[in-house]
């Protein structure tokens, strides 16, 4: 009897474009229904064929059918399944081609391709992609853009009114013109259709008709936008009014531009209203999230809609303006923008201004001020209020106000001539109430539970804040002042640097006994701001600082190379997660090291959050325990030595498997916990730490979303691969080379993000394996940086995979290692981790 073979449902790698965006996923089509119908029919056919196979198998089990005949019948049905699959795959892309060849989608496609180019440029600027790869990708994308630009765009609405067509075409070609009444009728049509009744399907109106209506609205929107931008362009070129008109506002625009803008806004509104009320966006969201559970309904339909109707039109207008900036200004602007991009929180905070400011408030004298990394919102007469730090914390899910405070200190250190013009509230207060802004508004942006425990809302005019409830150490109440105060800048050495440790010539870290420190637990770090809340620093944090300093020195000297995505701030977070005892959180989370080991390191009491003054810490031992690094900077087993180690290792023979139909791997439930701390121990603390991480850049968020679409697949031939083991190689290397070969030949799929990394540097696959199968790696530092997505396997599991010792690092010659199944396991775990994220 033959068992039913898995049905392929994924054709392999992305081929259209290396850089995928969310909009790829969300791309709408005018023929949504046709799309779904094809899908539905094909799936029904396949399901029917599968049922027939099951029936045959059941009949065989019941002894009513011979296996030979059954095999033939099943083989026949499988052929039909594959044929149906192929049909399904060929029909749907065909539809996509039709869509993309349409005029309206050509423009959208061009926009998308351009945004991909921008994305790549941004990655290069941030040193996240090498220029060679970027050049190749950009060249490919530009070719696609040119190809799309060949498509002629003739909106149907123009065809319906020759006079209007002529007028708007003229406008597109030559700039603003006076529109006659018949030409302006376009505007009235659009505005007339704002009548809500029109947006609901009328009795007898089919879904196809509403879909047609959607296409019309969309075209009107695009056409109006194009006309508006063309008019604007002409205005800038002719009137030399850039200084007065630059920006997102509409000051000093010509009547023609005002008119074109009104038309565009009406079309934009009509398009949005129709899409929303006809349920189009809802259907798109449903389709996007069809395969997901309620908890995973995260695909970004909201931001796509906001992007289409708000941000993109504004951005296009701004880009148009920027073309006319003087060369020197453009250069300066780019230089400033690059520096701002280094701190994504700033952009996030500025974006939050849109949500927290209201036009009436600004018009009536509300002032916004910025000191350090914080915005203060308030009228000149009223209390100055801090908003944006809270908004940043809120939208970012940041609970760690301490890190914000540190940034603020750093900022003040760097800007010695900064005049502190506010009687600032405590940073711990973060969100304040009354006056310029009330807490309920903040809560709208930030669900209270996200910041509960860190922020105390008070809707009175006074300001009360509680800071750092994480440690429970600080609580304060600050009266806001209506007057401005000025504080002299404070030199860093006088206020911030309260050295209580020193490194001896022998490399020991010594806890000093500076004047004023009498406790052996926490010290108070004082803020330069008169009313700032000091925070307490536990001795364990000194150890973290010392370790980071040490690693940083090795990074600077080139001993350690940070890979893509690695950063010292990530390392700090990893240390805190894995060694919670350093921050005094070991009482609630399992400590990373036992008290005996801490004593061997030099912490006499065994608790690094309480280190008596005068203690000498053996840094070599500490680094060794935590990272597996020797003080002289050599990695014991480091990722940086990968090239060295692999170069000296005989390359194992890997059978070349031709591209084949690849079968899906069903993702299995995997855990994201590390082996060091149990989930129950981590609990809320872990959640909080996760939330304190630096805000992820847009591309990271997009990448994460893209990862969720990962459908792991491996060819049948590769999954059957068993390797008779030969000494002289490691399983990690063997898997790396086999997977790389398999990936190149289309025998496995990888998550999009991993594909990008592999495209830039093939050894990224090495880390991918390590992340999802940590047992094969000894690289402690690399594990620290990357984290691991799953837990170790048991010896029994390894034995089942052909490793008789049960230890993947001790494989005997002649062991029949089930390479294919191990690769399948890695892919399953990757999918499991991605789908849980």
């Amino acid at each position: 009897m033959r068992e039913m073979l898995p049905v392929p449902n994924y054709s392999g790698r992305e081929t259209e474009s290396v850089v995928s965006t969310i909009e790829d996923v969300a791309k709408e089509s005018a023929n949504d229904d046709t799309y779904e119908q094809i899908e539905k029919n094909a799936l029904e056919t396949i399901e029917d064929l599968k049922r027939q196979i099951e029936d045959i198998n059941t009949t065989v089990r019941e002894g009513k059918l011979g296996t030979t005949l059954a095999d033939q019948l099943v083989a026949d049905l499988e052929q039909q399944i594959y044929a149906a699959e192929r049909r399904r795959r060929s029909e749907i892309p065909a539809l996509e081609i039709v869509e993309r060849s349409s005029e309206e989608d050509a423009i959208e496609q061009i926009d998308r391709l351009k945004s991909e180019v921008e994305h790549i440029n941004a990655l290069v600027r941030e040193n996240k992609m090498n220029t060679t790869l970027a050049d190749q990708l950009v060249a490919t994308l530009e070719q696609q853009i040119r190809s799309e630009e060949q498509v002629t765009y003739t909106p149907s609405i123009l065809k319906a009114n020759p006079a209007r067509e002529q007028a708007i075409s003229k406008m597109l070609e030559t700039g603003p013109v006076e529109l006659t009444s018949s030409e302006v009728s376009f505007e009235t049509e659009v505005i007339a259709s704002e009548d809500e009744e029109e947006f609901f399907p009328k009795e007898g109106e089919t879904e196809a008709e509403t879909s047609h209506e959607y296409v019309v609205r969309k075209r009107e929107f695009k056409q109006a936008k194009k006309a508006y931008l063309a008019t604007l362009e002409h205005d800038y070129a002719d009137r030399n009014i850039l200084k007065k008109t630059f920006g997102l506002g509409r000051k000093a625009l010509s009547p023609q531009v005002e008119q074109a803008h009104d038309v565009f806004m009406a079309a934009n509104q009509a398009y949005y209203n129709h899409a929303q009320r006809s349920g189009h966006y809802e259907r798109v969201a449903t389709r996007l999230n069809r395969e997901r559970t309620a908890e995973e309904l995260l695909l970004p339909i909201n931001s796509l809609v906001a992007d289409r109707h708000i941000l993109r039109p504004a951005k296009e207008r701004l880009e148009l303006q920027q073309v006319h900036l003087p060369e020197g200004v453009t250069r300066l602007k780019q230089a400033i923008s690059e520096r701002i991009r280094k701190n994504p929180k700033v952009a996030l905070g500025v974006g939050a201004l849109v949500a927290v400011l209201n036009p009436a408030a600004v018009l009536t004298g509300l002032g916004v001020r910025y000191v350090g990394n914080k915005f203060y919102v308030g009228s000149k007469e009223a209390t100055e209020q801090q908003v944006t730090a809270a908004a940043i914390a809120a939208v970012d899910g940041i609970a760690d106000l301490r890190s914000l405070e540190e940034k603020q200190f750093e900022s003040v250190r760097q800007t010695h001539d900064a005049r502190i013009r506010t009687n600032a509230t405590a940073i711990g207060a973060a969100i304040v109430a009354g006056g310029a802004y009330n807490s309920s508004e903040v809560e709208r942006i930030v669900p209270t539970e996200e910041i509960s425990g860190y922020i105390d809302f008070d809707d009175s005019l006074g300001v009360r804040g509680e800071g750092l409830s994480e440690t429970g150490a600080v609580s304060t109440s600050v009266e806001a002042s209506a007057s401005e105060t000025e504080a002299a800048p404070v030199a860093a050495s006088e206020t911030f640097v309260l050295d209580r440790t020193s490194i001896t010539a022998e490399g020991e870290l010594v806890f000093l006994t500076p004047e004023g420190i009498t406790t052996n637990s926490s010290i108070e770090v004082v803020s330069p701001f008169a009313n700032e809340v000091p925070y307490l620093k536990v001795p364990g944090e000194e150890l973290i600082d010392a370790m980071i300093d040490r690693i940083e020195a090795d990074v600077r000297s080139g001993v350690i190379t940070l890979e893509l995505g690695q950063s010292l701030s990530t390392l700090r977070e990893q240390i805190i997660v894995r060694y919670p005892e350093l921050t005094g959180s070991g009482n609630t989370a399992a400590p990373g090291l036992s008290s005996e080991v801490w004593q061997q390191i030099g912490v006499s009491g065994g608790n690094p959050s309480e280190i008596p003054n005068g203690t000498k810490i053996n840094m070599e031992r500490l680094l060794n325990e935590v990272f597996g690094i020797r003080l002289e900077g050599e990695l014991m087993e480091g990722a940086s030595d990968l090239a060295k180690s692999t170069a000296s290792t005989p390359v194992p023979e890997i059978p070349t498997i031709p591209p084949a139909e690849i079968a899906p791997v069903i993702p299995t439930e995997t855990t994201t916990e590390t082996t060091m701390i149990t989930s129950s121990d981590r609990g809320e603390f872990q959640k909080m730490l996760d939330n304190t991480r630096d805000h992820k850049p847009i591309e990271s968020v997009l990448n994460e979303l893209a990862e969720r679409d990962f459908q792991p697949a491996i060819s049948e031939r590769l999954v059957d691969l068993t390797t008779p083991w030969q000494p002289g190689k490691t399983l990690h290397e063997h898997l790396y080379r086999t997977m790389l070969e398999g990936y190149r030949n289309g025998n496995i799929t990888l998550p999009i993000e991993t594909m990008r990394y592999v495209a830039g540097n093939e050894t990224a696959l090495y880390g991918f394996i390590e992340r999802h199968l940590p047992d094969v790696s000894d690289d402690v530092l690399s594990k620290f940086f990357r984290g691991v997505s799953t837990e170790a396997m048991s010896p029994e599991e390894w034995r089942a995979l052909g490793i008789e010792s049960g230890n993947p690092k001790m494989i005997a010659a002649g062991d029949q290692v089930q390479t294919g199944n191990i690769i399948k396991l890695i892919l399953e775990r990757a999918a499991g981790a991605a789908n849980k994220s």
Binding site: M265, A306, G349, G367, I698
Partner: protein, 102 residues
């Protein structure tokens, strides 16, 4: 409640508070970049040649400025006013588009 406590309607119109955190962050960050681009452009257009030269010199000699917005707002107090104006302009435009469905 005075006029200052009036809510930003954008939050209501977009139902921003109900968005997943990551999605909300993406939107706000994109908005922030847009506002900064617009505000920086406006500011630079207002500066005199000598001021532009000074700024360029400063940027050339300070490769790693952690808080560029802080520097600009200290050096050119008008910058934050521009920023808030741009925020309001974007918000108003968004309100206009979304308002009829509230």
């Amino acid at each position: 409640m005075n006029e200052l406590t009036q809510k930003s309607r954008l939050v209501t119109l977009l139902k921003l508070d109900s968005w997943p955190a990551a999605e909300r962050a993406v939107f706000l960050e994109k908005s922030g970049h847009l506002l900064l681009e617009a505000s920086i452009g406006r500011l630079l257009l207002l500066l005199q040649e000598a001021e532009l030269a000074q700024l360029e010199l400063y940027l050339d000699s300070h490769e790693n400025i952690d808080d560029m917005v802080g520097y600009l707002s200290d050096r050119y107090p008008l910058f934050v006013d521009i920023l808030s104006e741009e925020a309001v302009a974007l918000e108003k435009e968004a309100e206009q588009t979304f308002s009829s469905t509230s």
